[in-house]
């Protein structure tokens, strides 16, 4: 496999710039650790029981681009997304994100069981940087989108799992941030709601937002994305138009007949 020249955009005005990024994990989580290990600098040789989940990954994303990440399970797709969301830090290289991020990753993570839907909306939106007045302004819109206007003052724990995902998606997708990260959350919810989510993402793309999308669904990838990143064994194998990337992926891993 060869690595094609990846950078196709002017790196000066990139919203996401990933430079020679590498991150490694332990193969064996139960290994005994020493204090020395813990404080050793970030950049050092990988120990035998560690592996590089990603290495030498380099690309830049221009504003308004829609990027789809393709690859088999365990090839570093979600890790890359987490690095871009800056909820994980690389062991080598740099990730620069210029602009706010609306991460649709573990979207229900910030919700507290004992608080009402209303409190939860204010909490989650606030943690993602929205001001109180802004939330108040958009509150009805969020509730309408999630279709749970009857449950605004219900404790979150009493919602059905579908409602939970709906309200979470509604909040994060109203953050109005210029960069949207999506990690296969759209597989949940009924078909009608899924269609609504897709429409919302279309709207956001149309208004010039940048999308970073991880999915196994060829259909979704082709629908939203213009450019693809193909990850295999922790390396960025191909960076090009989405159709080329998917074709290459299908060639490498043909679907069983």
């Amino acid at each position: 496999m060869t690595t094609e020249a990846p950078v196709k955009v002017q790196t000066t005005d990139a919203v996401i710039r990933v430079t020679d990024v590498g991150i490694r994990f332990q193969r064996n989580r139960r290994r005994r650790r020493s204090f020395k290990d813990l404080f050793a600098g970030r950049v050092r040789r990988a120990k035998p029981d560690e592996f590089w989940a990603l290495r030498n990954v380099r690309f830049a994303v221009a504003p308004g681009e829609a990027i789809g990440v393709v690859g088999r399970n365990g090839q570093g797709k979600s890790t890359l997304l987490k690095l871009v969301a800056e909820v994980m830090l690389p062991d080598e290289g740099r990730v620069e994100v210029n602009g706010g991020v609306a991460p649709l990753i573990e979207i229900t993570g910030g919700f507290v069981d004992d608080l009402t839907v209303r409190d939860n909306v204010y909490l989650t939106a606030g943690l993602h940087g929205m001001r109180r007045e802004e939330i108040t302004e958009r509150f009805d819109e969020i509730i309408d989108f999630a279709e749970i206007s009857d449950f605004v003052d219900t404790p979150y724990k009493h919602l059905s799992s579908g409602m939970r995902v709906r309200i979470a998606f509604a909040v994060i997708s109203r953050l109005e941030e210029p960069i949207l990260l999506v990690d296969e959350v759209l597989a949940v919810g009924d078909r009608a709601f899924r269609e609504k989510c897709y429409k919302r993402i279309d709207e956001m793309l149309a208004s010039g937002r940048t999308l970073f999308f991880v999915s196994h669904s060829e259909k979704d990838l082709r629908r939203f994305c213009t450019r693809g990143l193909y990850l295999d064994r922790g390396k960025l194998v191909l960076d090009g138009p989405i159709n080329d990337v998917i074709d290459r992926y299908n060639k490498d891993y043909p679907a069983e007949q």
Partner: protein, 272 residues
């Protein structure tokens, strides 16, 4: 292609930090107070019961009542309440990351917030429990040994600051380490129990007449801090040597904490 995304707000990193810190602290307090009827009462009932137990043991059983610190209940409370802040937040920081894994994995707010918010919410409870001391001090006015507030009560403010520095420092060390060494959680609990008796809470610092022991006790940063709080009603408790030692140690511990945290946080995030 035209970019229609407008930059919505020009908030500084500092104001974002403050907002997130405040939201999480408010969330903690809200959860605590909406899930229990007695809310505020619970945050003061623990130190209150402890004080009453020690009061009973030392004045009724051991007849310490006629000894140096009068009124003893006020003496106890001025040590126990700041102790509750210390032990409560240090105990909580052992789970600072583990309890909030899901949220930490999905938001990119500065990681020190996970420690700071615990110290802040316990600190608010501590301040909220101050009226209890005032109440007991007023009650003693009707007894033979009334409590007198001295001007040294103003020292409670620097004491509060030094204690906050100390707790944040310890929290920044403990929180990331527990993620790697789960045993540390129990070790910390044990250390806290030991520290309760090693700190001048049920006794006063100047009751340690053995000079070696006295100097040794001064190197427990809590000694100086508690002696400042105590001076509100018992000016003789103020021990400037212990105060300076604890201030210096707290700053050093905070420095170590910042270093440990900075160098281990990326590993913590991988582990969660």
């Amino acid at each position: 292609m035209t970019v229609a995304v407008t930059t919505r707000r020009a908030s500084t990193p500092f104001s974002r930090y403050r907002q997130a810190l405040w939201l999480l602290t408010a969330r903690d307090l809200k959860v605590r107070y909406t899930t229990s009827f007695l809310g505020y009462f619970w945050s003061i009932v623990d130190p209150l019961i402890m004080s009453l137990i020690y009061y009973f043991v030392f004045t009724v059983i051991f007849h310490r009542g006629d000894a140096v610190h009068q009124p003893y209940i006020v003496f106890l409370l001025t040590g126990l309440l700041p102790w509750m802040w210390f032990t409560g937040s240090v105990g909580d920081t052992t789970r600072a990351f583990l309890r909030e894994q899901k949220l930490i994995r999905s938001t990119r707010i500065p990681r020190t917030i996970w420690v700071l918010r615990l110290v802040l919410s316990k600190g608010i409870e501590f301040i909220a429990s101050v009226p209890v001391v005032a109440l007991f001090a007023l009650l003693t006015l009707a007894t033979k040994t009334p409590a007198h507030v001295s001007w040294d009560a103003l020292l409670s403010i620097p004491a509060f600051v030094i204690e906050a520095v100390l707790i944040v420092g310890i929290g920044l060390i403990v929180a990331p380490l527990v993620v790697f060494f789960r045993d540390l959680e129990r070790a910390v609990k044990l250390a806290l129990r030991f520290l309760f008796y090693a700190s001048p809470i049920v006794y006063g610092l100047n009751e340690l007449t053995n000079p070696t022991l006295h100097v040794l006790a001064a190197f427990n940063p809590l000694s100086g801090i508690f002696s400042m709080y105590r001076a509100s009603f018992f000016p003789a408790e103020l021990d400037w040597f212990a105060v300076w030692v604890s201030a210096a140690m707290s700053v050093v511990i905070l420095g170590i904490g910042i270093l440990v945290f900075k160098n281990s946080v990326h590993r913590v995030l991988k582990e969660l």
